[in-house]
């Protein structure tokens, strides 16, 4: 799919004001990819950008479904307490397992509860939904409980990031958001859920800053 590197103003407006688009086919880009010029980003600035990227990736809105081989989504974050003693997370209730398909195809699809709809608005404690089929991220994109270094190394490894360079990652973010997918939802989760930190635009910017700055990774 082709997309333009420009802001669709209406979409952006909706995002900023917390409104959602009712239009079914709003697949247009809603964040701008505007990388800094080559050589203008110091390593320190790139690391700062990555620190913000990490804050997003490790946030419950994102990490809960970026889980590993057990295929079990997590419930973490303020709305999911109480947690088992000594833990700040729990497995998704109801013994949910997305199976190797990562979408529950073998037993109970995620979309049994998480409907596919362009409307991002959902009531507190009801299953959130977005414009693409609810599913776990690919298993290589395991973020839950991972350190900044681990997530960083994964993000820059084409073998584990869907074969993308940093621009590819930025484009992926914009495209997913354009489909009203999880990337867009992460910052407009509705239902009293805590949004991912910063903003979608900031996140895309950070990806390009980190990329132009040479994709440095923090040490753990």
């Amino acid at each position: 799919m082709k997309f333009q590197k420009s802001i669709t103003f209406i979409s952006a407006l909706c995002l900023v004001s917390g409104l959602t688009l009712a239009a079914e086919n709003s697949t247009g880009p809603i964040a701008d990819i505007n990388p800094p010029a080559k050589g203008t980003v110091t390593e320190a600035q790139a690391l700062e950008a990555f620190a913000r990227i990490y804050e997003v990736a490790s946030h419950p809105r994102c990490a809960n479904c970026h889980v590993g081989e057990d295929n079990r989504p997590r419930w973490s974050g303020p709305s999911y307490a109480p947690f088992p003693p000594g833990q700040n997370w729990r497995y998704h209730g109801m013994n949910v397992n997305a199976d190797d398909s990562r979408i529950g195809a073998e037993t109970m699809p995620c979309s049994t509860c998480h409907q596919t709809t362009p409307d991002l608005d959902s009531a507190p404690h009801s299953p959130p939904h977005f414009g693409i089929d609810w599913q776990l991220a690919p298993v290589e994109f395991e973020w839950f409980g991972k350190s900044p270094n681990e997530i960083c190394e994964q993000l820059k490894d084409p073998a584990r990031n869907g074969g993308r360079d940093w621009m590819g990652l930025a484009e992926h973010l914009v495209m997913d958001a354009g489909h009203r997918g999880p990337v867009l939802w992460g910052w407009s989760p509705s239902g009293d859920r805590e949004a991912a930190p910063f903003s979608l635009q900031q996140h895309v910017d950070d990806m390009t800053i980190w990329g132009v700055g040479g994709q440095p990774c923090p040490k753990d």
């Binding site: 013994n95 037993t107 979309s111 049994t112 509860c113 009531a123 009801s126 299953p127």
Partner: protein, 152 residues
């Protein structure tokens, strides 16, 4: 808007945000799917859309794309679906309020996986609550239904 339920087409004049559950229950008088929580935590409202289990409390009727099947459409007292027969054979139901949802979930599971293991049953059937605690018989009935349907 148009909605096809149990093979019958309906034309509905309802609010755009009305969940399928209430369109079925209050507009079409199809009361097999039950209201239990309204937030997909209990599964009592489970129906099928094109054969897949869906919590009807959590999808708008206006967004349904496909054929809706409720417990009434799965089988009738005179001609029960294999899952319903297995439920009867094992005398699963106690109060019975959650059972339409349990049965719809089980039917959807068996359509995907004709020979589910204990572990698979535990995965697929744990989003349907039963306060009477009929679970041991649900497990047994899913296995019997699988056998009836040619799996196992």
């Amino acid at each position: 808007m148009e909605l096809s339920v149990n093979g019958q087409a309906h034309n509905l004049d309802i609010d755009e945000d009305m969940p399928l559950l209430w369109a079925l229950r209050d507009k079409l008088n199809i009361t097999g799917p039950k209201y239990g929580c309204g937030i997909a935590m209990c599964g009592a409202c489970t129906v099928h859309i094109d054969g897949q289990a869906v919590r009807s409390c959590s999808i708008r009727a206006s967004e349904v794309n496909g054929e809706v099947t409720t417990i009434e459409g799965l089988g009738s007292p005179e001609a029960m679906h294999a899952v319903q027969s297995a439920w009867k054979e094992h005398q699963v139901a106690q109060c019975g309020y959650c059972q339409p949802g349990q049965i719809m979930s089980a039917a959807s599971l068996l359509a995907r996986n004709p020979n589910p293991s204990d572990e698979t049953i535990d995965q697929a059937m744990s989003a349907n609550l039963c306060r009477c605690g009929t679970y041991p018989r649900i497990r047994a009935a899913v296995k019997t239904a699988a056998a009836k349907m040619g799996g196992a």
